[in-house]
Amino acid sequence: MLNSDAFDLRKYVQRNSQSVAVWIALLALIVFGILRYDNFGGSYNFGSFLNYNSMFIVIALGMCFVIITGGIDLSVGSVAAFSSVIAAYLSPYGLEVALPLALLVGMTFGAFNAFCIIALRIPPFIATLATMLGAKGAALVISGASTVAVDWGSNFTNMGMNKAFDLFPWSIIIVTIVGIALWIVLEMTSLGRTILAIGGGEDASKLMGLKVNRAKAFVYIISGGCAGLAGVILASGFGAGQPLEGVAWELSAIAAVVVGGTLLTGGLGSIPATVAGALLLGLVFNILNFENGRGTISFSAYWQMVIRGAFLFAVILFQTRMTKGRKSKGASA
């Protein structure tokens, strides 16, 4: 029994209690929404919900990688804003040019973060804070501090505005592909396992002979790339590069990652659960919008941040209790 490869549901739930809880909460909210609101399950709400949240999902994916190594990336919002401006400028050349170049721009910011953290040994939150400022300033400079309209004649806006099968926005399809690719990297490759090991113990990983610096550089570059992709979706979905957007996106991403059960101290995390966390946060606000629409409550948009903070607080309390329990168990063993 112990050594069987057969799937043991009880054990799985036990081991992944938080992500299971997130999935259940997500399902429950969807059912609740469908039963309570007329248009909740309709294709319009479905599509716009996924389209809008695809940006937050992809940023959360990159953030998940960074947090798993025990780091943090506060620059994602500004990098996304910068990349949206670049993508808007490149939109006349079509998506096939704008998308890869905007991604590259994002990755360059990520590489700069990695350089500061690994080579200059600047603490991650300081390095990425500086990049956040720098990218924001750069975005404002190149855009002249106003939105940059995209070229509607090219295929650029297809990504953010068109849907496959009249149901799935292309943005969410691309994000799904990225998510699956990152999931495979994390679960199925040595690089992914190294990333997890670094968060569990950087010194131990070094002594095991793992290529720690390479893996750390990888996560920051990926996070930059994800922010770049989010910028393209932003520009494509709203028809303009948005240098002023991206404020507090890093917080949404961190909240989504943490709600998804990733330990803030690193070493433990999952891609699907992060997606679930991002969807759950998005759905909470979607439902609040519907409640507002019915007039039962009047929640202003400003509640979003309060609720995000409360979520983060609850999850941190939950995590500290969990890790404490684990520690005392380990000590008595």
């Binding site: 112990l2 050594n3 490869d5 081991r15 495979i184 679960e187 199925m188 490759t189 040595s190 396992r193 190294t194 997890l196 090991a197 968060g199 569990g200 113990g201 010194d203 131990a204 990983s205 070094k206 002594l207 095991m208 002979g209 793992l210 290529k211 330990l263 070493g267 433990l268 684990r326 168990k329 380990g330 000590a331 063993a333």
Partner: protein, 505 residues
């Protein structure tokens, strides 16, 4: 048998302080070779030089017939040297399989980890060691013993030619030790060499072929275990010939002269964890009680229990008849002081001045209306600088700029300044030069002569034997026996240790 590893005349210094000065080891193929020595003798440095964590300053290493120029742990692994470090260097949050396979996972299509194969391989390796566990569970959910064996399993799975084990049994119970020894024996049969570092001498006789003894960064001897005795090994580590261990006084101490006062501190059957399971001690007014034992015997843990740092799992401690304090702050108020073993990590605040370091424990009693009474502070600090002969430019010099001995005197002054009834001193003279050592011993003696009491921990047996009025001998977390001065000699203490570890084995 042929030689697998030869380390010759290795030199290594840190910031000009030599850690290794001409250390040599030779290991044959399929041999279990023990490496022993006191704390600070250079065993860990030796291992880290071998595995490329440190770069040697001088000397030659030949491994498997080649000159070795390893510069990092990964190269060492690739060359066939696997290390199981003292502090576990695995990743507890990750699964057993990952910890065994990390960096060497079986792949499908050249890129993707073949998890079923990885689990199967891990299971197969562990079964060979007689371990049957769910390899998909996080490593941290298993006992330390299992984790230790998993670390060894990782080493073996890498087809190592040499496995280095640093204190592998320090956290294992006796049945787990048996399993470990089985593994070591099967390694030997497979032609793998083992470098075995341990303080538990009995183990060496059971499992090892030869033993190399280190002292002060040098190797002082290599012998076949079949041809040596435990007494010889202990004498070698301490740097004495057994015949030379005499009753002549060699320190500034003179134990056994104190008249017993009333009981100040009493510990009964105290346990705080696996490293301290049964500790008993009484301390009278005006007395020095020594805690004797080899490294890992539970002496520091006993000190931490007395000072209220670690919570008690079992047993009681009473201080002047009242229950003992459960927090360092309360312990200080109750009249206890604790000079810690690790001066750097738990003692000095490097960037603070001598003055600020010295008065840290005294602060609560030195305030006037929320303000620090600076005039009084200066007076106290100047008093102790003069009384203890602390060599410092002035009291504002940052403590990190002082020599080890003077740093230690400042810390000693930190505790003397609170005028405690009892001082717990953990290795008070470690890492200080000979002159400072004598001075510190004198300070301690004077303190006791004024009617106060001391709990003294020292790895230097002569300091213990000559300084303490009584010695409580610990082994593997338990009190074994108690020796009373006058009449205690180093020889007797060594014998007590040798016998007790025999009795417990």
């Amino acid at each position: 048998m042929t030689v697998l590893l030869e380390m010759n005349a290795i030199q290594k210094a840190f910031n000009g302080v030599p850690a290794l000065s001409g250390a040599s080891v030779e290991i044959e193929r399929g041999e279990v070779h023990a490496l022993i020595g006191q704390n600070g003798a250079g065993k860990s440095t030796m291992i880290k030089v071998l595995t490329g964590v440190y770069r040697r300053d001088d000397g030659k290493i030949t491994f498997n017939g080649h000159d070795s120029v390893l510069t990092n742990p990964r190269e060492a692994q690739a060359a066939g040297i696997a290390t199981i470090y003292q502090e576990l260097t695995l990743v507890p949050l990750r699964s057993v399989t990952e910890n065994v396979m990390m960096g060497y996972e079986p792949k499908r299509f050249g890129a993707f980890i073949d998890w079923p194969a990885a689990h199967a391989r891990t299971r197969e390796i562990l079964t060979r060691f007689g371990i049957d566990i769910d390899v998909k569970m996080p490593l941290g959910s298993y006992s330390t013993a299992i984790q230790q064996l998993v670390a060894i399993a990782r080493a073996v799975s890498l087809d190592a030619k040499l496995v280095i084990m640093d204190e592998p049994t320090s956290s294992l119970d006796s049945s787990e030790v048996k399993t470990l020894f089985g593994v070591v024996r099967s390694l030997r049969e497979a032609g793998v060499s083992v470098l075995y570092v341990s303080h538990f001498l009995d183990e060496l006789f059971e499992i090892c072929d030869r033993v190399t003894t280190m002292r002060d960064g040098k190797t002082v001897g290599c012998a076949r275990l079949a041809e040596t005795t435990k007494l010889d090994l202990i004498a070698g580590m301490l740097g004495r010939d057994t015949s030379e261990i005499t009753e002549a006084g060699m320190t500034e101490f003179g134990g056994g002269t104190a008249k017993k006062g009333d009981i100040l501190l009493e510990a009964k059957d105290v346990a705080t964890g696996p490293r301290l399971t049964k500790f008993n001690m009484t301390l009278h007014r005006g007395e020095i009680v020594g805690l004797g034992g080899l490294l890992g015997a539970g002496r520091t843990e006993a000190a931490r229990a007395l000072f209220g740092v670690d919570p008690l799992r079992r047993g009681t401690i009473s201080l002047k008849g009242a229950p003992a304090p459960s927090q360092p702050a309360n312990a200080i108020t109750a009249g206890l002081g604790y000079l810690t073993e690790d001066r750097k990590a738990e003692g000095i605040i490097p960037d603070m001045s001598v003055r600020e370091n010295m008065t840290l424990a005294l602060l609560p009693r030195m305030t006037k209306g929320g303000q620090i009474d600076r005039a009084r502070e200066r007076k106290i600090v100047q008093h102790y600088i003069d009384a203890l002969g602390i060599k410092t430019a002035d009291m504002e010099q940052p403590i990190r700029e002082l020599s080890g001995g003077n740093q230690q005197k400042v810390l000693l002054a930190r505790w003397l300044a609170i005028e405690p009834d009892i001082l717990i001193l953990d290795e008070p003279t470690r890492g200080v030069d000979v002159g400072a050592k004598r001075e510190i011993q004198l300070i301690i003696r004077n303190f006791v002569d004024r009617g106060y009491s001391v709990v003294l921990i020292s790895s230097e047996f002569e300091e213990l034997v000559e300084g303490a009025d009584r010695i409580v001998v610990l082994n593997e977390g338990r009190c074994i026996t108690e020796l009373t001065n006058p009449g205690v000699t180093e020889h007797k203490l060594v014998q007590a240790l040798a016998q007790t570890s025999e009795a417990s084995a």
